[in-house]
């Protein structure tokens, strides 16, 4: 009985939970991006500040796109394929680049 039910609908709602986890992560990245923009434009706009601001906004957009792509893949089938390592590495690279921006702004 449970085998039949499993193939129809996942009672643990795993794809939905994973989708929401991606949503929460984009929210966290939004908060970081807002703080980054505030730090970059603090004390009047300068050439360096504007470049850093644009870079952080671009990284945030890249993060959103990656999340969106994965969310669509999760919604497409009943038993989605595992996350691709390249996808995970791209997400981490976005985060690392934001940290590098932060480093440049702090120092």
């Amino acid at each position: 009985m449970s085998g039949e039910a499993l193939s129809v609908r996942d009672p643990g709602l795993q794809p939905e939970r994973t989708r929401l986890a991606w949503r929460r992560t984009t929210l966290a990245s939004t908060v970081t991006a807002v703080l980054a923009v505030k730090a970059a434009l603090h004390g009047g706009p300068s050439a360096f500040g504007i470049v850093a601001c644009a870079l952080c906004c671009g990284l945030w957009l890249a993060f959103l796109l990656l999340a969106h792509e994965r969310i669509r893949a999760l919604a497409a089938t009943a038993s989605p394929a595992p996350l691709a390592p390249r996808h995970a590495a791209s997400v981490v690279l976005c985060t690392l680049a934001t940290a590098a921006c932060a480093l440049a702004l702090v120092i």
């Binding site: 996942d10 794809p15 986890a21 908060v31 970081t32 703080l35 595992p82 390592p85 690392l96």
Partner: protein
């Protein structure tokens, strides 16, 4: 360290990962993915904390402010690198049917966050006038 470098190559070669062992139940992979995302949120929060220290504690002496910000940023960087590395190791262990890898990282991160928090309290209490 060498293992980490080998894993970095695997991040960009998904075919190599799929060759090993058998594909686990998709629910286990998704659970692993959520754990990865939870660590990424932690990393993002730490990086955001680095920005916030720099922004919202302007009365602190330069050294303290930059030191705290750098500690938080460093923790965020380590956390995100470790997130993808651990995700990869768990994924491979599940494919091979091995035990999931153990990790000292949560304890390490806990200690670092506690030290930064105590430093923050001391700085706010003592260094405010300085």
């Amino acid at each position: 360290m060498i293992e980490f470098v080998q894993n970095v190559r695997l991040w960009f070669a998904p075919e190599q990962v799929r060759e090993e062992g058998s594909t686990p139940d998709y629910r286990f992979s998704l659970a692993n993915e959520r754990t990865f995302l939870a660590w990424m949120r932690t990393a993002l929060a730490l990086i955001g904390g680095g920005f916030a220290v720099d922004q919202f504690l302007p009365d602190l002496r330069w050294g303290w402010r930059v030191g705290l910000a750098l500690a938080l940023l460093g923790a965020g960087v380590l956390c995100s690198l470790r997130a993808v590395n651990h995700w990869m190791r768990c994924e491979r262990a599940m494919r091979r049917g091995e035990d999931l890898p153990a990790s000292r990282f949560p304890a390490l991160l806990g200690v670092v966050v506690a030290v930064v928090a105590v430093a923050m309290v001391v700085v706010v209490l003592v260094g405010w006038e300085g």
